[in-house]
Symmetry: C2
Subunit: 192 residues, 2 copies
DNA sequence: TTAACTGGACGCACCGTTGCGTATTATCGG
DNA sequence: CCGATAATACGCAACGGTGCGTCCAGTTAA
């Protein structure tokens, strides 16, 4: 018996190679086909892995996606909120980056796919926030502005961020043509 | 040839009975099963109509849902924004009604289903706004507040409403437990 | 020895399409 | 005015295709 604690199982150990292959294949297919055209069989084929291996470790498509989300395999590099001291300008710049990102070819359906996944699965819905880095990154910037006296001290930060991101999401769902002042208007709706 | 203008078709005329049966069945199944568990075959069975009759007139599941949305067969009675003269209190009351509505048993998945449908289909996404009466009802109330000098004249109304509703939607997607001050906090995030 | 792996097959549900028979309706010929 | 014809919508039934989730047999690795 090994010196370390814990009961050592007998038999083969889980293949990290297969695990990663599945998550990476999920990331690739998600990017190219979107969430709703994602299939377990497609992931298995793309990963070069048997379907059974997926079903052994994940209960559903959304569980795989949730894991890929955690491993940062689903989203492109996310814009960060700058900090020039001017909270309004910073938020507008960040929102513009966000809009530019989803305006890039190939990223059209990205938001829709993520939202669709969040609709289907509680796990994804919860983890999406963290994965977007929103709660962490944006909230921190807002709280800095509050500390600097640029925003009221009793501002409900979480709800503020939610409204900001929610406005962005709805904008994406409406598939409205990208107006040049969209970012500025959205931020100005919250900061008046 | 008939006196009236327009080329009169030959043959049987479209059955209004069948059309309504389909849309009403869609409404019932949508309410009980949610959007993603909706199937054409299920709708046909529930409506007592052949599958072909559906495919003859609608191109996809989302097209049927979009039509049902238009005919007001999908959503329960929607809260209206009161007008007491106090814009903040009115918005809080409205948001509270909204939260109460989706908190009712049987309505848990309502928002998720609608959002999922909007993700899948452009038509639904666009029509959802109208059907929710948001653009009309809420915007009007906001503009009244602007006219009354309670909100700045250059407020981007559409974006403001989008942020408000977006905050509500994200709140629903997160499935967070219903905090009693949720409505008040969300409105206060926008009106500070 | 035991568990994870691959590969293949199964039944099921739903998709979207097609063919067939029937009912309804406008148009045309007598 | 009336019957034949043509065009259309309907229900019923079946098709091939796809993906699901499960199962089994055989192989590989700790």
């Amino acid at each position: 018996m090994p010196a370390s604690a814990g009961v050592r199982r007998r038999g083969a150990v889980r293949s990290e190679e297969a695990r990663l292959a599945v998550l990476e294949a999920t990331g690739r297919l998600f990017a190219t086909q979107g969430y709703d055209h994602l299939t377990i069989e497609g992931i298995a084929a793309e990963a070069g892995v048997s379907k059974q291996t997926i079903y052994r470790w994940w209960s559903s498509k959304s569980a795989v996606v949730a894991d890929a989300l955690i491993e940062d395999l689903l989203l492109p590099d996310r814009p960060v909120v700058p900090d020039t001291g001017d909270i309004r300008a910073d938020l507008i710049a960040w929102m513009q980056d966000l809009l530019d990102l989803v305006a890039q070819p190939g990223n059209d359906g990205l938001v829709r796919s993520l939202v669709a996944a969040a609709c289907e699965s509680t796990d994804i819905g919860i983890r999406l926030n963290d994965a977007l880095g929103i709660t962490a990154t944006v909230s921190a910037r807002i709280e800095a502005a509050v500390a600097a006296g640029q925003l009221p001290a009793d501002l409900p930060v979480i709800e503020f961020v939610r409204a900001l991101v929610g406005g962005f999401v709805l904008h994406s769902l409406e598939r409205s043509e990208p107006a040049p002042e969209a970012a500025e208007r959205l931020v100005r709706a919250l900061l008046h």
